[in-house]
């Protein structure tokens, strides 16, 4: 057995991360909690179940948002185990058609959502834009680039329209994921980038953890990978943002992006930027910081779109229940998904776009 799959033997009768399991929470169904998914997978391996519509529905319900592992005292890599089992399923030709076609799109275009445009410029600093940022949320990318310019940096946008390997890996196609990861590294090396800022936590997670753990790929040692939000938080004094006048209490809630639980260092940085951009501390969701739930922006949008939509709706409901009139988030992937699903009059604003409006006129 692939060693990482061994995690299901630990998780199959463990209920200790149920309280933060996002899919269990929205469906109220034991079967799609970490325990349930691991149990179904473990029983399939023991010959008690076979892969069919019912059991595959369970296997593909795991969102790969990292909540279970972030709360696991013994650090069980359950999402990686599930990805590895999906790879076996795909190898056996049993993957559902929607999964296959999402994979084929990435394998052909390097992008699930549009096109990939490799960078041609060179520089020391780069911004990894990613697939969704480039193809579906350009205004966030533009805002980020302008803020970086205001910091005095000349930044090369890279990975424009390029999937970092996260989606194919999570869908169960490690070879394609491997190729995508290699492409990311090649582009960064080709452009001479030594300091790589990353716009989306999804790509940051891929670079900092997933490539090594699931694909056995190590990034070149001379490339430093930096969360854009951490970098901008450190630059607040240089940016000299002008706070909005007269705000004492905010009606904007900060949504921790998908994968935030995997990158806990960013919780405070994001909030400090919100405070500067909004004029006071943002409203906090119930599902925040180390218990933040993902929106349906992971591979779940292809594997179980019904659940993906509910995950996003649940974030919007959380904000409404907290009395928020608007939502603010830094991640283009999360922002795009929230905008797509919002049926209320909620204003969904990009954090970097909001920060841009606070820049002094000639910076």
């Amino acid at each position: 057995m692939n060693t990482v799959i061994g995690a299901i033997e630990n998780c199959r009768f463990c209920l200790m991360c149920r309280h933060v399991a996002p899919v269990g929470h929205i469906t109220h169904n034991e079967s799609v909690t970490p325990h349930g998914i691991a149990l179904v997978a473990a029983m399939q391996r023991r010959g008690q179940l076979t892969w069919n519509t019912s059991t595959l529905d369970v296997l593909y319900a795991e969102p790969d948002g990292g909540n279970c592992r972030a709360h696991c005292v013994t650090d069980q890599p359950l999402p990686a185990a599930i990805a590895a089992i999906r790879a076996e399923v795909a190898d056996d030709g049993l993957a559902p058609p929607e999964v296959v076609s999402a994979h084929n799109r990435i394998a052909e275009n390097h992008s699930a959502f549009g096109s990939y445009e490799p960078a041609t410029m060179h520089g020391e600093w780069g911004l990894f834009v990613g697939d969704v940022g480039f193809n579906l949320a350009r205004e966030t990318v533009q805002a980020a680039l302008k803020l970086l310019e205001a910091c005095g940096l000349d930044v090369v946008p890279v990975g424009c329209g390029l999937d970092s390997g996260f989606i194919p890996c999570s869908l169960g196609y490690p070879k394609t994921a491997h190729a995508q990861a290699r492409l990311c590294i090649e582009e960064v090396q080709r452009t001479g980038i030594k300091k790589l800022l990353v716009l989306s936590p999804q790509d940051l997670f891929a670079f900092l953890q997933m490539h090594q753990e699931r694909l056995d790929i190590t990034w070149p040692e001379d490339v430093v990978i930096i969360d854009l939000i951490d970098f901008l938080a450190s630059q607040v004094p240089n940016l000299k943002l002008i706070p909005p006048a007269g705000i004492t209490e905010n009606a904007a809630a900060y949504v921790d992006p998908t994968h935030a639980v995997r990158l806990p260092e960013r919780f405070d940085a994001a909030r400090s930027l919100c405070e500067v951009a909004l004029g006071s501390a943002p409203l906090e969701l119930f599902w925040r910081k180390d218990r933040a739930h993902p929106v349906g922006s992971t591979a779940i949008q292809f594997t179980r779109p019904d659940i993906g939509v509910r995950l996003t709706e649940a974030r919007l409901e959380d904000a409404i229940n907290r009395g928020a009139k608007s939502i603010v988030c830094d991640d283009p992937v999360t922002l795009h998904e929230l905008r797509l699903r919002d049926k209320s009059s909620m204003r969904i604003q990009g954090l970097y776009e909001t920060m841009l409006t606070r820049l002094p006129p000639h910076s």
């Binding site: 630990n10 998780c11 009768f13 463990c14 209920l15 200790m16 991360c17 149920r18 309280h19 929470h25 109220h28 169904n29 034991e30 079967s31 325990h35 349930g36 149990l39 179904v40 029983m43 023991r46 010959g47 008690q48 179940l49 069919n52 019912s54 059991t55 529905d57 369970v58 696991c72 005292v73 013994t74 069980q76 119930f286 218990r291």
Partner: protein, 479 residues
């Protein structure tokens, strides 16, 4: 035998009519997952490739009214109904031993009201324990039922088997914290118990639903007592050479009403194994963690007085750090692979009795289990963790690291060990259980436990549930 054909489809259509298609499942994967709770036997059974008894339907109702309608359907078809909260019960209480409808309450997870004046929370029974705790914490409050399973258990699951949490020694068991409940009776009648539990307006009938584990009805909502989050928590650990001295010290602290929120006393075997494994301390003797909370000056004084008692027994003060480490890591014991795990055989034979009997009971059970199953190299460990003014609970565990491979043989050995342990408990004046409940596991001991009083319970059951639909096979009630 699988239930197939027209009739199951008829039932399904009625259930769907009530709860909606999305909330009624007969899926193969769902039926397997709901075939086992946290009881060792069904887990082992599944793990060794044996087919479990699965529910025929899993229904996730949204309200007491929906549950009422579901119970009426179940009565008309004479189908078992098994309430299911988090499925974290260790006694097989939520197992569908005769098939039927598993009624998963987790969709009923609303907080109805937090009353910051009376310090109460009213919530639907399917709410997750930790999520409820987070919600009241936001108001500076806590629900002082802190079970190790708060991450996975529900409010209804706290109450139905009469659970006990880590800080019960000061704040009480789950049942002591409930003011009021809404319950759906087996015939579908929905009732609310009186607004407060302490009164003199007639008998205390609400207690019937605490400990009946879904055999007398479904708890759909409860109002629970809250407390302020304490200003401080003072923890420290001490080491006794002798278990007898340690129990006596605990008794004196309790009977002098010094109000510790926790006294966790590990027997020497547990000190050498569990405390070493999880906390990393290599110690010989009986390890005790002691905690006081609330206003700092009061807690400090209580701790001082308790330490006077402890010092009188010549125990070694290990200081704050090991007490705090225990508090911070107290639930780490439950994460695999640190938790007890298959293929081992294990069981928690926790019991409670008065101070005059507890030590004798503990040693009698230990001797019976250790001597009776020596050829299996059985390990018997324990700790004393829920202390009352009159007695204490001992949480004892047996572990067999090389149980039989054959599932049926394993069942027989498992049940023999339980028979031995429970016989020792009953013969020495103990209760077969203190907080995990009875479920399927201890069902067969209920008549012996209650003796003359059993027929009364049996009569209540028959009058409330004449068709025997509610959780059959549990708590001593047959089909």
């Amino acid at each position: 035998m699988e239930w197939t054909g027209l009739q199951p489809e008829m039932v399904r259509s009625e259930l769907t009519e009530i709860a909606g298609d999305a909330h009624v499942s007969t899926d193969e994967a769902d039926r397997l997952v709901y075939a086992t709770d946290w009881f060792w036997l069904p887990q082992m059974w599944l793990d060794r490739g044996e087919a479990p008894r699965k529910p025929d339907y899993i229904v996730r109702p949204k309200s007491a009214e929906e549950i009422s309608a579901i119970l009426q359907v179940a009565n008309s078809y004479r189908i078992p109904v098994i309430p299911w909260g988090g499925g974290s019960g260790s006694q097989g209480g939520a197992l569908p031993v005769f098939g039927g409808i598993v009624l998963d309450t987790k969709r009923m997870n609303r907080i109805v009201e937090i009353d910051e004046k009376s310090l109460t929370v009213t919530a639907e029974a399917g709410i997750n324990g930790k999520q409820l705790e987070w919600a009241v914490n936001e108001k500076g409050l806590m629900l002082p039922h802190y079970p190790a399973s708060a991450n996975c258990a529900t409010l209804g699951g706290y109450l139905a088997p009469r659970g006990t949490g880590t800080i019960s020694t000061k704040y009480g068991k789950a049942e002591d914290l409930v003011l009021r409940m809404q319950v759906v009776l087996p015939d579908g009648h929905i009732l609310r118990t009186p607004i407060v539990p302490q009164h003199a307006a007639g008998p205390d009938f609400y207690r019937l639903f605490l400990g009946s584990e879904g055999t007398f009805g479904v708890i759909t909502e409860a109002t629970m007592q809250l407390d302020y989050l304490p200003e401080c928590r003072l923890l420290r650990a001490v080491l006794f050479e002798d278990l007898t001295d340690a129990i006596e010290a605990g008794r004196q602290i309790m009977t002098r009403r010094l109000e510790p929120f926790v006294i966790r006393l590990y027997d020497p075997r547990s000190t050498a194994s569990r405390v070493k494994k999880i906390l990393g301390y290599e110690l010989e003797g009986a390890y005790m963690v002691l905690g006081f909370d609330g206003d700092k000056d009061i807690a400090t004084l209580q701790e001082e007085k308790a330490m006077d008692i402890i010092n009188g027994f010549g125990a070694r003060d290990l200081g704050r750090e090991p007490g705090e480490a225990w508090w911070n890591q107290r639930y780490d014991f439950y994460y695999p692979p640190q938790s007890l795990k298959l293929p081992w055989m294990y069981g928690t034979t926790e019991t409670v009795t008065t101070y005059d009997k507890i030590e004798k009971l503990y040693f009698a059970e230990k001797k019976a289990v250790e001597e009776g199953y020596r050829e299996w190299d059985i390990d018997f460990i324990g700790h004393f963790s829920h202390w009352f003014h009159w007695g204490v609970m001992v949480y004892t565990r047996f572990i067999i690291r090389n149980p039989p491979d054959d599932a049926k043989e394993a069942v027989r050995l498992h049940n023999r060990v339980w028979n031995t342990a429970m016989t020792a408990v009953l013969e020495n004046g103990g209760m077969v259980n203190e907080h995990h409940g009875v479920g399927l596991k201890l069902s067969r001991f209920m008549r012996r436990q209650y003796g003359d009083a059993w027929p009364l319970l049996d009569r209540i059951k028959k009058s409330l549930d004449p068709n025997g639909i509610m959780n059959p096979g549990k708590v001593g009630f047959g089909r």
